[in-house]
Amino acid sequence: MKGALFHPGLMHGGYSVDVPTHSQRTILAEPYATIFGWSVDDNGGRGTVVLRIGRRELTPDVVRRVDVRQALGPRVVNDDVGFEFRFVAPFGISLATLIRTDTQAQALRRVFLVRFEPVWLTRWRSARRTRGLKANEHPTLRFSLDGPKPTRLKLMSQPRLVVHGWAVDVASLKAVSPTVLLDGLAQPPHPKKRGDVQCALASLGALPEETGFEVGAELSVGFHDLDVEIRTGDTVVSLFKGKVLRLPSMRSRVHSRSYEDWTELEAKLHAHEAGELGAHIAAMLYKPSFRILVAPGGKGDLEETKRSLASQIYPVFTVDEGSTSAIADRTPADFVLPLAAGDRLHPAALYRFADRLNREPDLDMLYADEDRWTAGRRTQPFFKPDWSPDYLETLNYVGAPAVYRASVAAGLQAFSRYDLALKFTEQSTRIGHIGTVLCHRTETSALADTVGDIAALQGRLRRTGRTGHVAPLVAGEGAYRIKLSLKRKPLVSVVIPTAGKVVRIGDRTLDLVVHCVEQLRLKTSYAHLEIIIVHNGNLCEGQERDLTAHKCKLVLYDKPIFNIAEKLNLGATQATGRLLLLLNDDIEVIDEGWLACMIQHFEKPHVGVVGAKLLYPDTRVQHAGVVHNSGNPDHVRRLAPRDDHGYFFSTSGVRNFMAVTGACMMTPLAVYRAVGGYSEALAVSYNDADYCMKVRQLGRSVVYEPAAELIHFESVSREASLDIGESNFYHQRWAREVTFDGFYNERFLTVASPTFEPLVNPRRL
């Protein structure tokens, strides 16, 4: 029972991953990889594990493990506790996560798989010449490349690469600076003194002392091209031409912590920083004034709120008692901050607002994160997304604390804080978010007013020219669902790329594309559709007949190399509808109203993309929005149950994200054309997230619609794969945008996987 281990974090069950051992990276020179071990659940039965690689999720073969039963005794009920995954590893670098699913989903092991083809090594021309002292090699150049060392493939686990050596032109007796290209980008060499070279070549004449060169560069994980060459006139002498592979680091020196630990640290930091902040306040060029409106409430609650106001380090504010309807009255101020009795402001709350307004004086509204004050402790942090106009129609996520420019708010006659947020954001979109918890609310101060909230949302519908019905998502929780009566019923062009596959799913045999079209024609209530099928020319006669019977346009894609972006763009050229629905052929409809739920968002002019809620065949969540984790797009809340509400209704309510999956994505055809459709440089992966990013650049929002529920037999029609080149393309194109995901707080929420659970991660940027 090699490597047997009872994990200390598990009360009763246990597991062991026998292969690979504790190594966090596995280098593969062949396509097949194996991971095996055993897992016992809390009852002594077989623990369920799955292996996730990119978007693929694999189930293991069951293996008998008598040794485990013998070793662990009566605790283990059966022999079949072993598991084995044998799979084809994706080419390049990928992350394989072994997850235990019989209890709360828990990652048991993460392994970086690095797969390459041995034939590459022979193909890589390592035209390296580390010595150039012979006169017949070049008439006047003499050089030496002292590093990197002569290997075909340089492996590195540290990020820093140093290229160093020396070069001289003996005709002119001058130092020569080489060109160092890392991934095609020139890296400036720094001159180095090389007395040894000066001495060694003294017979040739008086050489300068600085004949050396050195280039240092930080490498990211993955393959890199390195070229070192000397250019003199028309001559190019190559010193090194090869590849460098940086492997992921095996150690993580800084660990995550709980929110409770963080609040303790944060309190100490605040005490530590108070003097600095005081100096800043004294030196502020702009000292905005705040008027704090505390709504009536219990005496004790009011006192708690006032006590927190008395401890503010920023002094320019006044306090009034009154509701939001009193905004226009009394004391003039630059900004107004409504609070409920019982809300406790963080001592630095007003300072943080003033600080941000000094940085961005044009902002009209600012809100910050909040948590709950329960039994004298801070709990349930709400790390809010950046400005999310569509999420605001699900719940008043802006909540408290939020400051509103008084000159704009004064004329709004808002009857509640939710009404104020809705009305204000119709007047101004200069809205900022401070990603710090600045208010601690109690159960009573955060209590929802269902009648008032519904009235506020109905007012919103009226003001924005929409008609519909507002209903609570869950009674008394302050989250709502809007169902519109569509004003218009635009033609929707559905583009379905297909390989015409017939697959076995459970006990059913499905002709995917025909099944998909039947779902649209027979199980979808919205009928104003045109269906465009983009096929590879391999549809059988029966498929063509069925599709034609369903009035589909058939478009032939005859390129030899698979490129989903090209296929979708080709289909879109045939579209005539106002809206375009990009749809995979491996989907199945659950509720006939799904399409209308997506269409209704386009009655808001700011919406650019709408994505659906996709479920695995076992009805667990497959897609409920895409967030970025270290710059990589990833599905949030994957494997959650279908009826999961998610983090502050992020799964069950309409919400904004940076991107949604392209498996089912709706967008106006005009927008699709305005951004040039899908990027064809992204043949397989990232093209959907890339599209969303392009649309967001136009100032339009990306919306996740949970009422549009579909089953998605993900990657049944095609094997999932990850192309490093596409990954690099995406990372480079959106380098600034994905630094932080404004809709998912990577610092304070789980990142591997992004399950939307509070966890304070080490700061990485």
Partner: protein, 271 residues
């Protein structure tokens, strides 16, 4: 805080740069877009142009902008040019902007010079770094090596002359020595008991311990930058893993909040 008897802003227009036109246009655009917030005299230091014609073209890029030209040779890097300027002008304070500078917010000069007016302040800048060049040359102090970067820095003219006069400025190493070396600008200020401060777009003056939390140089989206340059733009354009590696190289463990709670001498941060 106090006011100064004259502020000189020296912008370096360097003709030897590949894209000197783009650099000048970027600077002029940003200078016109963002009021400085305080009276000053703009000097443009023309340096390293291949021909008089190029230099003339460069001058036309400044349009109707009121400035005084200074010409200098290209053999002593940017700090040498600032020294030349310091010896020619008589303003009390000098703000040095290199050829890649781009002003990013209103009242930028007022914010910079206000920091210099703080009691004990000797050198202020839009960016600072903990990076050490010890791996290149052992003379440099090891990490963390807090220093104000020489782009978009402001200091008293007499301090600039005192720090640079008579020092070799012929090689890149000389330049690095002055920027982050043990007897460089920042180190000599600290040795005199004076403060080195980074100034953010929010107008806050950050002492070295707070630099990693200033949201400026090589941190996150660098949203609190007062003045950008080629290095900050390059960071913006880096892919995430490179960004992380660069951030780590610049700030190391000091990116983590808990380091603030340790006494500075235990954390290795001596200033």
């Amino acid at each position: 805080m106090r006011s100064f008897s004259g502020i000189a802003v020296g912008y370096l227009a360097r003709g030897a740069d590949d894209d000197w036109r783009g650099s000048i246009q970027r600077f002029v655009r940003s200078y016109l877009a963002h009021p400085a917030g305080v009276d000053h005299q703009l000097y443009v230091i023309f340096k390293g142009f291949h021909s008089k014609r190029d230099e003339h073209r460069a001058r036309t890029l400044f349009g109707s902008l009121a400035y005084r030209p200074i010409e200098t040779s290209d053999d002593n890097f940017d700090l040498g040019a600032y020294l030349t300027m310091a010896n020619m002008v008589d303003e009390e304070v000098i703000c040095c902007l290199n050829s890649h500078s781009e002003i990013l917010c209103d009242l930028w000069l007022l914010k910079l010079t206000a920091a210099l007016g703080v009691k004990g302040a000797g050198l202020v800048g839009a960016t600072g770094s903990f990076e050490s060049l010890q791996s290149y040359n052992r003379t440099f102090r090891g990490f963390p090596n807090p220093h104000i970067r020489s782009n978009a820095m402001a200091l008293r003219r007499v301090d600039l002359i005192r720090a640079l006069e008579g020092r070799p400025l012929a090689t890149k190493l000389d330049l690095f020595m002055i920027e982050s070396g043990p007897t460089g600008l920042s180190a000599s200020m600290v040795a005199q008991g004076r403060r080195t401060l980074v100034v953010g777009r929010n107008g806050r003056f950050y002492g070295p311990r707070w630099w990693p939390f200033s949201d400026t140089f090589r941190q996150g989206r660098q949203e609190n930058l007062l003045v950008g340059d080629n290095q900050t733009r390059m960071f913006d354009q880096m892919r995430w893993p490179e960004k992380q590696a660069t951030s780590l190289k610049t700030w190391g463990k000091y990116l983590q909040e808990e380091t603030l709670l340790r006494p500075p001498w235990l954390g290795g941060l001596r200033s």
